[in-house]
Amino acid sequence: MSAAGAQRPRADAENPADVERLHRAIAREPLDPLEGRERAPWWVWATVAAALFWGGFYLGRYAPSFGTATHEAFAMRPGEAPPPAADAPEPGAAAPADGAQVYAQRCQSCHQANGEGMPPSFPPLVGSRWVTGAPEIPVRVVLAGLQGPIEVRGTTYQGAMPAWGPLLSDAEIAAVVSHVRALPGNGAPPVDAALVARLRGEGRTAPWTAAELEAATAGAAP
C-alpha cells in the first residue's frame, strides 16, 4: 500500500499533458463510497433504549396537561404546586425590603447611582430639602408621583415622576425612602412602613405638585 503511494509522485510528474490530465484529480480518487455491513455495537442500542425510556419519563413528569396552560411543573422541587397564573399577588406582600435594591431597580435610571440626578431632566436627591425634610413629602411623591415645576438646589426641574404606589409595597417604599434619606450628605432619619400605610390610606392617586406637597405637609409634624 505504502509502496504504491510512494511511487506515485514520479509517475505523476512524468505524465504528459493530455486530455486526461484535466481529470487527474478525478482519476486519482478512490471509488465512490460504499456502505459497510457492520452491525451497530450493542451499546448503541442500549443508549437508544435508555434515551427512549428517559424521554417517556420526562414527558410524563413535565407535561401534565395538554392545553394552553403555561409554566406548569416548572417548579424545581417535585410536588410543588404550580404558581398562580392570571391574578398577580398583592405587591410585594413578602419579606423585608432592601432599600438599595429597590433604588437600583426603580430609581437609579433617572436619579443616578449617587443620587445626584441628571440636570436638566432629573433632579438630585442628595442635598434636596424635599427629601431630607418632613418624611411625608418623599413618601407621598413615591406613592403618587409628581408633576410640574419643582425647584431643587437652585435649579427648576419639570417634574414627571411616576407613581410607584401601585407597584411597590409599604415596606419597599419605606425601605427605599429611608435609603435615599440616608444617602451620604443627606443623613435624615429613616421612615417606617406604618407611615407609608397611613399616607397610602389617604387614597390620593393623582400626581402631586410642589405647591400641593408643601400645603399638605405644612400641618404635619416634621
Binding site: 409554566h71 397564573a85 392570571a86 432629573f122
Partner: protein
Amino acid sequence: MTRVWLLLLGAAATLGFAMVVLVVLPGALLVRIEPSAGLAPYGEREARGRAVYIADGCVYCHSQQVRDPSFTSDVDRGWGRRASLPADYVHDAPHLLGTMRTGPDLLNVGARLPDPSWHLIHLYDPRAVVPWSIMPPFRHRFELRDADAVGPGDTVVPLPAGRVPEGQVVVAKPEAIALVAYLLSLRRDAPPGAAALLDVDSRFWCGQGDEPRLARRGEAPAAETPR
C-alpha cells in the same frame, strides 16, 4: 435504501408529524386565548413604534418575557410581577419574545421607566443616563439642529450639558417618539387601577408647545397591526 418514494414519503412524514405537534395543534389551542385584562390593541403610534423596534433590531438584545419565579429571578429582579402568559401577547404579530438579555427584559418597561424624556435621552445617548450601558446610540432617529431653529411642534431631547455641541439641540424624529410610545405601552402585568395611574399623556411630555405627543392608551384610533 433503493426506493426514492420511500425516502420522500418518510421525510415528508417526519416533518409533517412535527408540524402537527408544534404548529397545527398549538394553533388550534391558542386561537381561543382571550387578551389579558386591560390589554388593548396597539394604537397607531405604538404600532409604528413597534415597527421601529423591529427595524432597528432591539429584539436581538432585549427579551419580552417574564419567566416563572420558581425557575428564574425575573420577578425578583423587578421585570414583572408575574410570569407572562399567552394572553399577554394576543396583539403581537410578529412576536418579539427574544432570545438574548444583553440588555434587560422590556415586557413591562413602561411600568418600570414611565418617563418619556428618559427614553429619548437613553435612545439618543445611552451612556448619558446609564454610564455602563453597551447599547448602541440610535442617533438616526433624531436630528441635530441649531438651538434657534426649533419650532413649537418639535420635541427637544433634554440632554445634560456637554452631551450635545454648544448652541445645538437634539430634536426627536417622529419615529423616535413612536418608539418611545411603544416602549411606554409595554406594561403587561399592571394590576387594574395601576394602568390608569401610569398612563402617559401630554403632562409627562417634555416637548415645547401644548400638543400632546403621546396618545392616552386606549384612546388611540383603531389598532393597526405592525408589519
